[in-house]
Amino acid sequence: MRVDLCKAMDPQLDLNALIRLARGEPQFVAFGSANQVAGLTYNSATRVDFRANGVGSQADLNRLERAYGVTLLLGVSEAEIDASALRLQAAFRGDPFGPMLRTQDARIIATGFLKGEAVATCDLQLFKRAVDLGVAATFLGSGRGSARALAYAPRPVSIPGGR
């Protein structure tokens, strides 16, 4: 699992990556610029959360599209996201106190799961859960967190109904 922010890839961005790209953090600007051609996306659940409670605005999303080509992921319905999110959450219910997946987290990973595409997140814990689910994931971070992500040994979980 590479954690190279300048390697071309076309992942779906988690909300945290959108926030940091919108803030213009140099590391994320470099990532956005390097991967603009490949095509960066966010899903509908991320869009809702981005526009909620002052996190960001539609104008910010429009600006990201103009600057880095970040667009809304199409072709997956809300019903499909909801259904897949429930299955992904269920995969972690074997240990009631172990790693778990909240609804909003599951809705982020769901589209990566459905489309077989990578999800890029700055959340090391969410990265681990995506990897455990067998979903392609990239940790967007720096410092020792990146080394931890690279070294992570997956703990595979079983998704009800299979992949």
Binding site: L15, N16, I19, R20, R23, D49, A52, N53, G54, V55, G56, R93, P96, F97, G98, P99, M100, L101, R102, Q104, D105, C122, D123, L124, Q125, L126, R129, G141, G143, R144, G145, R148
Partner: protein, 132 residues
């Protein structure tokens, strides 16, 4: 009671006993850092009926934001943006985007350690350790 409710009730119970008066915004963010980067080992028999030790895994940014939003609502009132998890999720990523303890700067580490020690003194808690 399902697993999610059990886990949420545990976090709620543990943190509200640590934060008996008003919660400051800076402490709220550090509670998020703690929950996001540490696992909490509970004493055998302190929770559940089978007497086994339980380890609460480190939680995601969104989950930590939900926990802190509920704590804020309990201690500071449920009005306004800080009672919403999206508010804390946004602030976390803008102000304290730390994924492991080693990345927390010294200027914040001292207070984070104080909060960890307060939680460690809860009779239900056996240890709080950085997640590997």
């Amino acid at each position: 009671m399902n697993a999610t409710l059990t886990r949420d009730a545990l976090y709620e119970g543990l943190l509200k006993d640590c934060v008996r008066e008003g919660l400051t915004e800076s402490d709220a963010l550090l509670w998020m850092v703690l929950l996001h980067t540490h696992e909490i080992r509970l004493r055998p028999g302190s929770v559940g009926a089978n007497g086994s030790a339980l380890v609460l895994s480190a939680i995601t940014q969104r989950h930590a934001a939900e926990v802190v939003a509920r704590l804020w609502a309990m201690r500071n009132g449920d009005q306004g943006q800080p009672a919403q998890s999206a508010y804390w999720y946004g602030r976390y990523n803008r102000e304290t985007p730390f994924e492991i303890l080693d990345d927390v700067p010294d200027v914040l580490r001292a207070r984070l350690t104080e909060l960890r020690d307060v939680l460690s003194h809860d009779s239900r808690v056996e240890a709080i350790t950085p997640e590997e």
